[in-house]
Amino acid sequence: MTAKETFDRLAEKFSQLGLAYLEGKDPAILVQADDLVELAQHLRDEEEYDYCSSITGVDYPDRFEVVYHLYSTKKEGGPVTLKVTADREDPKVPSVVSIWPGANWQEREVWDLMGIRFEGHPNLTRVLMWEGFKGHPLRKDFPGTEDEYAFS
């Protein structure tokens, strides 16, 4: 099943949500942030996409984007790629931990490094950087760290 067929089926079923198909080498489905949980629930329960293999953040000049790659352990095909945009000033995306529990640490990683807040996450704390670190290092405008060393 191609990504286009999957999109057509979803677009027919969720015609009120305004899904958009993004052409390209790796086609994706653009989802509004408010509709993400509803669509994810459908994809897991009805379409058997039970494995959320990666959640990543992308920093564009005018927006942030969160990309979800979904696979199935029961049928062939995939990935189904979902993209959600978030505001540049105050990026917020609903959490999908309630649907795929494995999203927990991945969302924490995106929060840690890109500063995108996942609403409804049970424990949104830093994973890689230490507590008390200021800023989110994978943002393009991150100024860089200022370290003190004993020998320099």
Partner: protein, 193 residues
């Protein structure tokens, strides 16, 4: 004064007269025990160096000791991340004197390809006094063996009269870095106000 003058005839073939430095350094160089400590991919080359094909035990490094209190050599094998840096320095401070540091691979020398990253310390020598640098990414086991021989040379060139670990006026403790809001910071001393 020669050996013949100093030693009675019946002991001449049994007693060796040598400087204290020579015998002291020979003993130390022949039993440098490294710490079982690897940070990244260079650690695998270090492990291979211990296997029978390369056999680090030929140079007196019989064991990787799992406790820093039984070791003399820290092989910094891999990238030192800022998250790991306090633990690396803490392990170094726990080693008994005399102690040596061997920076293995590009990352331990200078940060390597990650030098400009937000998460990597640009070189073990920012944190620790390094004795031998081994270039390579990762260095082959032969390079590590060569570095060990270089370290033996350095040890054999030392003299007990000026060795800093017997002097009370030399502070050899290295400050453990702490996590700050913009990167690693040095600990605030008790006297610094």
């Amino acid at each position: 004064m020669t050996q013949e003058d100093l030693v009675p005839p019946e002991l001449r073939r049994n007693v060796l007269i040598a400087p204290v430095d020579w015998i002291y350094n020979l003993g130390r160089a022949g039993s440098v025990w490294p710490m079982m400590f690897g940070l990244a991919c260079c650690a695998f080359e270090m492990i291979v160096t211990l296997t029978s094909r390369y056999d680090l035990a030929r140079f007196g490094m019989e064991f990787m000791r799992a406790s820093p209190r039984q070791t003399e050599l820290m092989i910094v094998a891999g990238t030192i991340t800022k998250k790991m840096a306090p633990q690396v320095v803490r392990l170094y401070d726990q080693m008994p004197e005399p102690k040596y540091v061997l920076a293995m691979g590009a990352c331990a020398i200078s940060g390597g390809p990650f030098k400009d990253g937000y998460s990597v310390v640009p070189g073990a020598d920012k944190l620790l006094p390094v004795n031998v640098y081994v270039p390579g990414c990762p260095p082959r086991p032969e390079s590590l063996l060569d570095a060990v021989l270089k370290l033996h040379q350095e040890i054999k060139g030392e003299t007990i009269r000026t060795s800093p670990w017997y002097r009370k006026d030399v502070d050899r403790e290295v400050p453990v870095p702490e996590y700050g809001p913009w990167g690693l910071v040095l600990p605030k001393g008790e006297n610094s106000e």
